[in-house]
């Protein structure tokens, strides 16, 4: 390695972890402290904005520990500041991959909550097509069997052990913690409403999650009949009439909510 690169690496190593590294050669401590403060404050500020619930539910000491460990250990690759939150979630996946003395005191839900809060950010900034509209219930009912449907591009679904969407009472409409479904935990969908521009979430039943999954596999869109056939294949234990009726009802509801949009 060329000398100047060694100097840069040493400088960066100290910034990431000043406790375990020597102050770079010949530089006043108060000058290094300016850099440490700038780097740390900037990252704290971005992550505090991106993970408000997690920050609120952890103790101040725990939050600082996570951010400091992120700075110290994670090699973030994206040049976009808006990706810093995703880098943080990637880091937490590694940090909480096993229980050890460093992370033993953190709540069980820490990683899952961070993952969920990032889903909300991704939904907020997902690129939606222009001029899309959700339909009134009556229009949705009339059109559900006629058009082909695709998912709103901001839709994301993930399964959680913990009821992360309700933690920190961010959602006042749902004051009670819901029940986990069939011991499979909580299947949560997050999306941005195309007109209101607000980020919404829903807990999904397993059959609903299958409908979303089918639509995710067919980005060009599916008709109601195709969706019903797909679900019949995936759920042979249920009778077809029940499936057909369930899927139709679900689609009308999703069209109305702006989760399903007319496919081009």
């Amino acid at each position: 390695m060329t000398d100047f690169k060694a100097v840069q690496e040493e400088f960066a190593r100290w910034l990431r972890n000043p406790d375990d590294n020597n102050t770079p050669n010949g530089i006043e401590a108060r000058r290094m402290a300016v850099y440490r403060r700038l780097v740390r404050n900037n990252i704290f500020s971005f992550l505090s904005t991106g993970f408000p619930v997690l920050k609120k539910l952890l103790s101040q000491q725990q939050w600082q520990q996570l951010v400091d460990e992120f700075v110290a250990k994670h090699a973030a690759q994206s040049p976009y500041f808006s990706d810093m939150g995703r880098e943080f979630v990637d880091f937490l996946a590694v940090y909480f991959s096993s229980r050890n003395s460093d992370n033993a005191d953190f709540p069980e839900f820490t990683y899952e909550l961070a993952f969920y809060e990032r889903m909300e950010v991704d939904a907020q900034f997902a690129v939606l097509d222009d001029d899309i509209e959700s339909l009134e219930q009556a229009q949705a009912t009339a059109l559900v069997g006629q058009w082909r449907w695709r998912l709103n591009a901001s839709v994301q679904v993930a399964q959680f052990k913990h009821p992360v969407a309700w933690l920190g009472s961010g959602h006042q409409r749902e004051p009670l913690l819901p029940e986990a479904v069939n011991n499979s935990g909580f299947i949560l969908m997050v999306y941005r409403h195309p007109q209101r521009n607000s980020v919404e979430f829903m807990q999904l039943q397993p059959m609903t999650a299958l409908v979303i999954s089918s639509l995710q596999q067919q980005p060009q869109g599916q008709s109601l009949a195709q969706l019903q056939q797909q679900l019949q294949q995936w759920l042979p234990q249920l009778d077809n009439a029940t499936i057909n009726q369930g899927v139709a009802q679900l689609c009308i509801d999703f069209i109305h909510r702006g989760v399903l949009l007319q496919a081009p």
């Binding site: 840069q8 960066a12 006043e28 850099y35 994206s78 976009y80 500041f81 939606l128």
Partner: protein
Amino acid sequence: MRRSVGLGLRREFLADVVTQQPNVGFWEIAPENWIPRGNTAYRQLDQLRECYPLTCHGLSLSIASPDPLNENFVLEVKRFLDRFHIELYSEHLSYCSAQGQLYDLLPIPFTEAAASYTAQRIKRVQELLERPLVLENISYYAAPGQQLSELTFIRQVLDEADCKLLLDVNNVYVNSINHGYDAKQFIAGLPSERIVYGHIAGHSEEAPDLLVDTHGADVRDEVWQLLDYAYQQHGVFDTVLERDFNIPPLAQLLHEAEQIDGAQQRVNGGC
């Protein structure tokens, strides 16, 4: 105000800018804050672009990083510049990543080898962008591994890379205090023909001999005087007022930007 006075665009006053169309020569934007934002943001930029010229001032290129150059990112910037017909893309003579991002501007060791390394990477970026890269002299609070003066280092990079300079007058002032050199001598030593445009901003005082370039306060009198001096030395160049923290109402920033106009007229009037 003249076309030669610009302001750093903040999302906080984007709506006001589009509806009120204040008297600003051009707006400077950070491509990193817009590229990932999708069509709503792009529509806003299209509207803005119809009324004003835009320049780009990047943050994350990390031109002097020991990590490999992120060529995909450079190409994303190029697509963005092309999309909005933006000619000028400036960045910092600095690095912000070493084994991953640190998201802040770090001081390049002022050595001949580092200057050559940086110049090679600038050439590659210019090739990919099919545009000149304009580089800004940054504020720095420490000079690790220094073997050359800052001025010698900058001149070597500019010559070897054959690139342009964004002269940040506030940074010159901050560095002259932090590292005990003569700000005017530094400015006089820069090559006029490479200066494309300038920046001016406020800073904060950590100690009498340690200033920090915060972009969070009004521009100090000493810095305004230095801007006059820079115009006298190199001729008037387009200049952007930067403000990133403690952001006042747009009207107040516009008032401060008018002082740039005043400085430019003083120098031109004297010719």
